[in-house]
């Protein structure tokens, strides 16, 4: 199977190279009108078919690796290092992305899947798809070169083949780890497609905005996967790592977050190009930057440039990625300089207080956030280079620098959709903003009265301060968005004589992008509320003998038993805790600690009892070696459940936004987003 897999990768490389060269030649012939022995159209079609065949070849290689994991073929070094006989079947799939070579194969395979779908749907726009197909082939050539020559997944083990493998990293032996990495990779790899369309459209000087519509749809799908991947990773960190948090600002986490930010910026600013023919250069560079950030993130985390707890995928292929990034950047700059006159804006922003400028500011904040994260990730390297000593850029730094920027972004989330296009008036501002502002102040007062006080014991508490602002802004933004729904639904209800809820449904169907987007914004607001809850975490830790008790918040935990178990994969010990509230038993929790036989690495399995207002999070930290008693840590994490609920709404909203809008039967049924009042003087930038 190793030989089969290796040959499949070699064939895939040959096919991708043919796809690139033949595709580029065909497009060159088409562009210059030169004659050749074969018609450029036929040549381009052979390139497209080679791309499809290449996908089959990479699929065969991926199949070969998975087959080898399931058949315990320890003659392959990668299988030996990342699997063992006792590994449960579901986690055998995880072996595909648990190491460097496998994860690169997964990357190439997913790129192949995206390319396959793209090439099958080429009739949408044959020429643009031919450009995009050739660019994707170029990216594929890079990954296949690495897989064939720098990090081969089918390399054979030298010497006597061991009876059993080293096993899978325990951190990856968790149900979400079967879903989280593929989702993240689908998001990461998926940004290659908008990049290919963007660069292709620029190379061919694509007329009109159809390419941007195609790119937007691909970007939304990719963005959805990346969002899911990031949040599944957060949930995994919360449930597995056992430190009570979900985001540690680790370089690998940051690497996935940066393209998400630029991708989000693109999804917003692309509307300016669609509607007004503005920000064309900006959008092009957002597409380029997003793709480059996926490569940079991979370079940073796999080349060992920055230290990360995600050490299971580090190696020395950084030079390959650095060279590739340099080439891609050079191609982007060259193409842009050559074709920049094609990207001239058709309109300019007329007022500082308008929907257009809100998009611009939204982009500005998103890109600043991206810069902050990149800066925080790279600063230890810069510091070591400049002053010779490394520093840590941990959560305290990010909380102080990134949180204010995030709150400003939240504000824009509420303000932007309420502003009309072009310019606005004082009366329009007042009409749209009075209720959200009142809600904002009411929330401030309620939160202060409830104890969210930034002045604790006469000392300024930044956590409480940010939480207070986050709650207030969230309430205001939520009110602003809901009022938009209600305003539109009332118009529909008046026209159709249906009730408000049916009207809201009809409203959403008639403009799925706008109202799907609003649902995503509400999801973001709910996520922010959940994140703000972390300011009020409380924890306690205690050694707990039989029937000893520990109190946290309204709960009392009593240890009623501690036991052990052993299976082929791991040995485990756990405590049985009865949880009491107001003197009566409510439920039982069983936090666990495992030690995996193959790797001899420990793994925490926390026990979480989730309620809408908080999670009771209990960790079995191990036993005290001198007394043999279990050590239990309990944490109350307020509002964490809101984060996961918000993500569900974000995903739902993205699906809605992807559904084509129902065309209204008459122009009379269209609902204006925000009415302007032309009788009043409008606010221009200079006012």
């Amino acid at each position: 199977m190793a030989t089969f897999g290796s040959f499949a990768l070699l064939i895939a490389l040959a096919l991708a190279a043919y796809n690139l060269l033949a595709g580029a030649l065909a497009l060159r012939l088409l562009a210059t009108g030169q004659s050749a022995r074969i018609s450029p159209e036929r040549l381009a079609d052979t390139a497209r078919r080679a791309g499809i065949a290449g996908f089959v070849a990479i699929s065969a290689a991926a199949f070969a690796l998975i087959w080898s994991v399931f058949t315990n073929d320890f003659s392959i070094t990668y299988i030996l290092e990342h699997s063992n006989r006792a590994l449960p079947a579901a986690y055998k799939f995880s072996a595909l992305w648990s190491g460097q070579e496998g994860s690169l194969l997964l990357w190439a395979w997913l790129l192949g899947i995206y390319g396959f779908v793209l090439r099958l749907t080429h009739k949408t726009d044959v020429k643009l798809y031919a450009y995009a197909g050739a660019i994707l082939a170029a990216i594929q050539v890079f990954f296949l070169l690495i897989l064939n020559f720098a990090a081969p997944p089918f390399a054979l083990f030298r010497g006597a083949i061991p009876e059993d493998g080293n096993g899978l990293n325990p951190l990856l032996q968790y149900p979400e780890m079967v879903i989280h990495p593929p989702m993240l990779y689908l998001g990461y790899v998926g940004f290659s497609v908008p990049f290919a369309f963007g660069l292709g459209a620029l190379m061919m000087r694509y007329p009109g905005e159809k390419w941007i519509k195609i790119t937007r749809t691909w970007t939304m799908v990719t963005w959805l996967f990346l969002t899911l991947g990031i949040f599944l990773g957060m949930h995994w960190a919360y449930a597995v790592l056992g430190w009570g948090g979900y985001w540690g600002w680790d370089p690998v986490e940051n690497a996935s977050f940066m393209p998400w930010l630029t991708g989000t910026a693109f999804l917003h600013s692309v509307m300016m190009q669609e509607k007004k023919g503005m920000m064309k250069s900006w959008n092009m560079w957002l597409v380029f930057s997003t793709f480059l950030l996926t490569i940079l993130g991979t370079l940073l985390t796999r080349a060992g440039l920055v230290s990360s707890v995600h050490a299971f995928a580090q190696s020395s292929i950084g030079t390959w990625f650095a060279m590739f990034m340099g080439i891609v950047l050079a191609v982007c700059i060259f193409t842009y300089v050559l074709q920049r006159d094609h990207l001239k804006a058709e309109h300019k922003i007329e007022s500082l207080v308008s929907r257009e400028s809100s998009f611009l500011f939204n982009n500005l904040v998103l890109l600043t956030a991206c810069f902050v994260i990149l800066w925080g990730t790279l600063f230890p390297v810069i510091s070591e280079y400049v002053v010779g000593s490394k520093v840590t850029m941990g959560a305290p730094w990010y909380n102080r620098v990134a949180v204010p920027i995030g709150l400003f972004l939240l504000l824009l989330t509420g303000v932007g959709p309420l502003l009309p296009w072009r310019a606005t008036s004082l009366r329009a501002i007042r009409r749209n903003f009075v209720i959200p502002v009142i809600v904002l102040w009411l929330t401030v007062m309620v939160a202060l009265a409830a104890g969210v006080n930034p002045l604790k014991d006469n000392q300024f508490d930044s956590g409480n301060f940010y939480a207070l602002i986050a709650f207030a802004l969230s309430a205001a933004v939520f009110t602003a968005i809901v009022s938009e729904f209600v305003r539109g639904a009332r118009v529909i209800a008046k026209q159709t004589h249906k009730n408000l809820f049916t009207s809201m449904y009809l409203l959403t169907r008639r403009n799925t992008r706008r109202y799907g987007g609003y649902l995503i914004h509400i999801g973001v607001v709910i996520v922010v509320v959940g994140l703000a809850g972390s300011a009020f975490n409380t924890n306690t830790e205690s050694e707990m003998g039989l029937h000893s008790r520990m109190g946290i918040g309204p709960y009392t935990l009593e240890q009623v038993g501690a036991t052990q178990d052993d299976n082929a994969n791991y040995g485990s010990e756990w405590a049985i805790l009865d949880v009491y509230k107001n003197g009566s038993k409510q439920f039982q929790m069983m936090p666990e600690k495992r030690v995996y036989h193959a790797t001899q690495q420990p793994q925490t399995m926390v026990s979480v009892h989730s309620l809408p207002w908080w999670d009771l999070y209990v960790i079995y930290e191990g036993t005290n070696p001198s007394t043999g008693q279990p050590i239990i840590k309990a944490i109350i994490n307020p509002l964490v459940g809101w984060i996961w609920a918000g993500v569900v709404l974000m995903v739902f909203g993205t699906f809605i936004a992807l559904v084509p809008s129902l065309t209204p039967t008459g122009a009379a049924l269209r609902v204006p987003a925000v009415r302007t009042v032309p009788a009043e003087p409008v606010l221009h930038g200079g006012d």
Partner: protein, 204 residues
């Protein structure tokens, strides 16, 4: 930014004019008349309403600040979240959950001792940095070269914000200046057609 409030000329310096008037009684009468007119002015009424609302809100917030429980966020907890565990787990000291961790127990003990000695936050950080190296601090100190780490994000944000505002203003001024120049209706119509035929209805 915002539409300026256009007070009628006679409202602008009522007090001054009253002072300058030769007759005090006449001035008071004038002042009273002007004050009454000022009160009945719709702009003043609106301004007064918003001022009162702002006053009420400020008062309410101030009252609320004095309410609420003060939580037991001890100095120990705050400080152990500003230090790192040095065992290689890359976790915040207060969140390191390894039983028998070779470093965190010792670090936490040192922190307890330092707090008990009455050391200032800065002195505690200095003690930790001297013993474990600069990477023990969860965030770099805002001094020397590390100051760049703190300043750069805000400087970039401020520069970008200012640049954007200036750019939009430049565009809006350019737009006003070029109003006299008629656009090519043929090209505009063509652009609109392209957008109509190649775009879709959606978006914000």
């Amino acid at each position: 930014m915002g539409t300026p409030l256009h007070f009628p000329k006679e409202y602008q310096s009522v007090g001054e004019r009253a002072k300058r008037h030769p007759s005090g009684a006449k001035a008071r009468a004038d002042f009273g008349r002007h004050a009454a007119r000022l009160k009945s002015c719709p702009v003043t009424k609106r301004l007064s309403f918003w001022l009162k609302t702002a006053q009420a809100l400020a008062l309410a917030v101030a009252v609320c600040f004095t309410l609420g429980a003060t939580d037991a966020g001890t100095r120990y907890n705050v400080l152990n979240h500003r230090l790192m565990c040095t065992c290689g787990c890359a976790e915040i000291l207060g969140e390191c959950n390894h039983v028998g961790c070779p470093n965190s127990t010792e670090e936490l003990e040192l922190l307890r001792r330092s707090i008990a000695n009455g050391d200032s936050d800065q002195k505690i950080f200095d003690i930790f940095a001297a013993k474990y190296g600069a990477t023990v601090l969860a965030a770099p100190p805002a001094s020397g070269f590390n100051l760049v780490a703190w300043v750069a994000p805000f400087a970039v944000f401020a520069a970008a914000l200012l640049g954007t505002i200036l750019l939009v203003r430049h565009w809006s001024i350019g737009k006003s200046a070029s109003v006299a120049q008629p656009a090519d209706p043929e090209i505009d119509a063509l652009r609109e057609r392209i957008r109509r035929e190649t775009g879709d209805e959606g978006g914000y």
